[in-house]
């Protein structure tokens, strides 16, 4: 892994940025998410969440089980507004 390795593909967050944030004192996945937006993109942290927890664990010398993942928020997968509203709409594609 190098400084430029992308950790969060949705928001283009690099390994270097994550390490820098840890050095600034953001040592939880919740804080990391708010400062760097990793976990706020389309995948909602399903790709980067565990990677970031691993980096935090390694850099702070704690075990992975002691680094909680951010709160999981609905919907479980990105869902169209029309489906959520339950309104019929014409196919446009």
């Amino acid at each position: 892994m190098t400084e430029d390795t992308i950790i969060c593909r949705c928001e283009d967050v690099t390994y270097g940025q994550v390490v820098e944030a840890i050095e600034q004192g953001f040592t939880t996945t919740e804080e990391m998410k708010r400062m760097l937006r990793c976990g706020m993109g389309a995948c909602q942290g399903r790709t980067c969440g565990r990677l970031i927890a691993q980096i935090i664990a390694a850099k702070t010398g704690t075990s992975l089980s002691q680094v909680p993942l951010p709160t999981s928020r609905p919907p479980a997968a990105p869902t169209e507004l029309a489906i959520l509203a339950g309104t019929p709409h014409e196919e446009t594609s």
Binding site: T28, M35, G41, A42, L81
Partner: protein, 373 residues
């Protein structure tokens, strides 16, 4: 001693330290902006129905404009405007009063017709819209970054910020604040500032003060990022809805559920997801294929007049309130924390806050701000 590491707590810590006030400590239960600040929509509005809120908001916008330079931090402050839609004669009448008052105070707000509203917010469904008010200098900023900016500048000036340190009790002696008990021990202090948002009520109870604040859940959701096509916040009080597109492209939206029961629950509800989706598709039908990626909840600390509680309280000396913002604490913070710092250091206040003291609820003479979602 400031309890609460949100925008108010951190902002006040900075303003006090800047004035040379020593030994300022901020106690935060979790991490910075983990409460209402970090859960808000980030909007910054100056269009209110009361002079108190309008003045605080106008001064805050001026200060938001200087914040990045003063604190050396990019807080993503943008002035994308706020558009408020009127659907009924009653709304039009009220907005005429609001705009007259706001213009008198010097705000760049004006009435526009539905056609211009559609130019400002393309794809907006203006069916039934009689007119709208528009203020281009309203806007938004990133609540996490603003809080962090204040906190880091405060730390540079010697402020101590203790994270993950919940307060378990406040002790008084002879009608005065004496000490605060935390999960990590007891600290003696003659002065406590209650900046704990919805939890301000619980803190005040520890010293026998009943704040007229009702904590109520308020939910927000955000969509995937799509090509930016409008910068303004759109509000309809009739629908109880507000929404805006973030610079990154996600469309953020919330509504006030009149059936929401008071309490500390901030979990996400299916009802919100469904109702919000219906409301937004009514206002902007073109979004029907856009996907929602996330929803969350936070607490409004609502007062009977939707105005904040600022300053000391009768009966307990050394107990200062900065709470009860009723969902608008972030946007009013820069001026409010400046004023509270003036109050605490004994300066003459450059904007009177007597009418925002706790004792207004005892006289029964309150005038509610009507521009609330």
């Amino acid at each position: 001693m400031i309890i609460g590491g949100g925008v108010s707590g951190c902002g006040l810590a900075y303003c006090l330290a800047k004035r040379g006030f020593k030994d300022v400590v901020v106690l935060e239960r979790e991490y910075l902006a983990s409460g209402a600040t970090g859960r808000c929509g980030g909007g910054i509005r100056q269009q209110w129905s009361t002079e108190e809120n309008t003045k605080l908001a106008m001064e805050s916008v001026r200060l938001f404009g200087q914040l990045d330079e003063e604190l050396e931090y990019e807080t993503e402050f943008e002035q994308g405007g706020y558009l408020i839609l009127a659907y009924t004669d009653q709304e039009v009448e009220q907005y005429k009063k609001n705009v007259a008052m706001q213009q008198k105070l010097g705000l760049d707000v004006r009435f526009i017709d539905p056609k211009e509203a559609r130019e400002i917010a393309p794809h907006l469904n203006t069916e039934g819209v009689l007119c709208a008010t528009y203020c281009p200098s309203d806007g938004s900023a990133n609540p996490f970054y603003v809080t962090q900016a204040y906190a880091e500048a405060a730390k540079c000036l010697g402020v101590q910020i203790e994270l993950y340190t919940p307060v378990t009790n406040i002790e008084k002696r002879g009608g005065r604040i004496a000490s605060v008990v935390t999960s990590r021990g007891k600290i003696e202090t003659p002065l406590i500032v209650n900046a704990a948002g919805g939890d301000s009520v619980s803190l005040a109870k520890m010293v026998g003060v009943e704040l007229p604040i009702v904590p109520t859940r308020h939910e927000i959701m955000v969509t995937e990022q799509v090509e930016p096509f409008f910068t303004t916040m759109v509000i309809s009080f009739k629908h109880g809805v507000y929404f805006r597109q973030e610079k990154r492209g996600g469309i953020l939206m919330g509504y006030g559920d009149p059936d929401e029961r008071p309490g500390f629950d901030i979990t996400s509800s299916m009802k919100f997801l469904r109702t919000m989706s219906r409301k937004i598709l009514n206002l902007m039908p073109a979004l029907h294929r856009v996907k929602v990626v996330r929803q969350w909840g936070g607490l409004y600390d609502t007062t009977p007049d939707a105005l904040p509680i600022l300053g000391p309280v009768d009966g307990v000396e050394g107990f200062i309130q900065i709470n009860g913002f009723s969902g608008h604490g972030f946007m009013l913070a820069p001026k409010v924390v400046d004023l509270l710092a003036q109050l605490i250091t004994g300066e003459e206040l450059d904007l009177p806050i007597d009418r925002l003291h706790m004792d207004r609820f005892l006289t029964g003479e309150i005038s509610r701000d009507l521009s609330v979602v």
